[in-house]
């Protein structure tokens, strides 16, 4: 045990390990705040679907030889998010069906494009690491770190500033509309925030596992707290804890970072469920 601790402390001295912790914790804080907004509106699957869209967009960027994939991923994902969140009334295709179609469609087309145009030797390795996250969290440049940190701080400020508005809209959208809130504009802003966080969080856990970061902390917190404030604060706390724990284990045991973080979330969820039974 002391050996493990020593190894860990020695790792902590490296810049890339510090950056992984900072970015990981900040991104998962944002993801858990999104969860609070999505889970209660029964949009749990939206995060999953958008992450597949981001995967498809990344494949397009790779096929077109873009130097920075973010330039394609961000706008495409934002557009899809706006479309899906606003398509509620009078939509051509019903909500859950359109979400499923876009999700599966972009996953398949993304893989197809990567197959046709990839110039890299290890294609399946590439695809696997995009889907399940890779060690890329451990290879962040300081520019990436600053970008992620800025985005996270913006998302957290957005949530703090609009906390009561968010509560009013997700608890009862019609009531909010009737009292004069412009719900349509609000949904658009939320969609943009969601898309941005998903694109960045993909680097942490990969596109298949992003929705775990969004959903698990909120659902776990709901088992323990019954006020909105309690659930929100506890979800944020759980999320930061699980990500830290996940990265520590991944570094020490050499497991994949993304899956380990999700594993920690699952264990915490089970503990919270037991807590509710006992209580």
């Amino acid at each position: 045990m002391p050996d493990l601790l020593e190894t860990f402390v020695s790792y902590l001295q490296y810049g890339f390990v510090q950056r992984a912790f900072i970015v990981g914790v900040l991104i998962s804080l944002c993801a858990s705040l999104l969860g609070v907004m999505l889970v209660f509106r029964r949009f749990s699957y939206l995060g999953d679907s958008l992450s597949h869209v981001a995967f498809g967009a990344m494949a397009i960027a790779a096929a077109l030889n873009f130097s920075d994939e973010l330039l394609v991923m961000l706008p495409v994902t934002v557009l899809c998010a706006v479309f899906l969140l606003r398509s509620g009334n009078g939509a051509f295709i019903k909500g859950d069906a359109s979400i499923a179609m876009i999700s599966v469609g972009s996953l398949a087309m993304g893989y197809l494009l990567m197959n046709l145009f990839s110039k890299k030797a290890n294609l399946s390795g590439d695809v696997c690491s995009t889907l399940f996250g890779s060690t890329s969290i451990l290879t962040l440049s300081s520019f990436d770190t600053v970008l992620c940190a800025t985005l996270s701080v913006l998302v957290i400020l957005f949530f703090v500033f609009f906390y009561h508005q968010i509560f009013a809209v997700i608890f009862d959208e019609t009531f909010a509309k009737a009292s004069g809130v412009r719900v349509g504009n609000f949904n658009t802003i939320v969609a943009i925030v969601i898309a941005a966080v998903i694109v960045f969080a993909m680097r942490l856990v990969g596109s298949l596992l992003v929705s775990a970061l969004i959903i698990f902390p909120t659902v776990s917190a709901m088992r323990v707290f019954k006020s909105f404030r309690g659930v929100t604060l506890f979800a944020v706390l759980l999320s930061a804890f699980c990500t830290t724990l996940g990265i520590v284990i991944a570094i020490l045991a050499g497991t994949p970072v993304g899956s380990t973080i999700v594993g920690a979330n699952i264990v915490v969820f089970l503990l919270c469920s037991v807590f509710r039974r006992v209580k």
Partner: protein
């Protein structure tokens, strides 16, 4: 005068559902809106709340949006939403908050006063699913009153309540009406629901607007 509707036709996407209606609501009125299913009661309420545009005709309000409260149909509210009664009632003050990110002490005291007024102060820290149907309805009513306490719109408020809670709820509405609140209620319940009404609007063919006595003489 609180508001009046002139040659009002309501519907969805410019397709009319009702015929032309003319009616008015004065301060202290208790207006019941009745009619068969599909006659356009809910559409009318949505139009009055500003959620739908009138197909034709005018609605003229003498009160501001911030003086209007609204109690939606209860089945639309998710019972599993983690929120305490106080958080829900306080959210009624959302449109009064302006650009401040947090509620003022005044907002909080108004929310608490309304909970006191409806006898649910002791349930402030409980969440909806822990409360009985009647108490849940009181929580949403307190939220409506916190949003605006001059004019109250209600949409089928007793649809999910048992007979005892229903009688209780009507008594509560009567008390609120007597203390100066103007009430507009969409209801299915032509038996007991109309008991405290001062005016009745029947949506359908034929339309009718008049006092409760006139309504009973024509339709009962």
């Amino acid at each position: 005068m609180i508001f009046e509707a002139e040659n009002l036709v309501v519907g969805y996407h410019k397709k009319p559902v009702t015929m032309e209606m003319n009616f008015s609501v004065a301060a202290g009125d208790f207006l019941c809106i009745v009619g068969t299913n599909g006659a356009g009661k809910s559409t009318l309420l949505k139009t009055l709340l500003g959620l739908e545009r009138p197909v034709s005709g005018d609605i003229r309000f003498q009160v501001s949006r911030k003086e209007i409260g609204y109690l939606p149909q209860q089945n639309r509210i998710s019972k599993n939403f983690p929120a305490t009664a106080f958080e829900i009632v306080l959210s009624g003050r959302n449109s009064h908050r302006g650009w401040k990110p947090f509620y003022s002490a005044k907002d909080k005291s108004i929310a608490l006063q309304n909970m006191e007024r409806l006898n649910i102060r002791e349930h402030a820290d409980q969440c909806l699913r822990e409360l009985s149907g009647g108490l849940q309805q009181r929580v949403l009513l307190a939220r409506a009153l916190s949003a605006g306490d001059k004019l109250l719109f209600l949409d089928e408020p007793v649809a999910s309540l048992d007979p005892e809670a229903t009688a209780d709820f009507y008594k509560l509405l009567k008390t609120l009406n007597e203390t100066g609140l103007t009430i507009v209620m969409v209801t299915h319940d032509v038996q007991d629901g109309l008991e405290y009404a001062s005016k009745v609007l029947r949506v359908g063919r034929p339309n009718f607007f008049g006092s409760l006595e006139e309504y009973r003489a024509r339709f009962a």
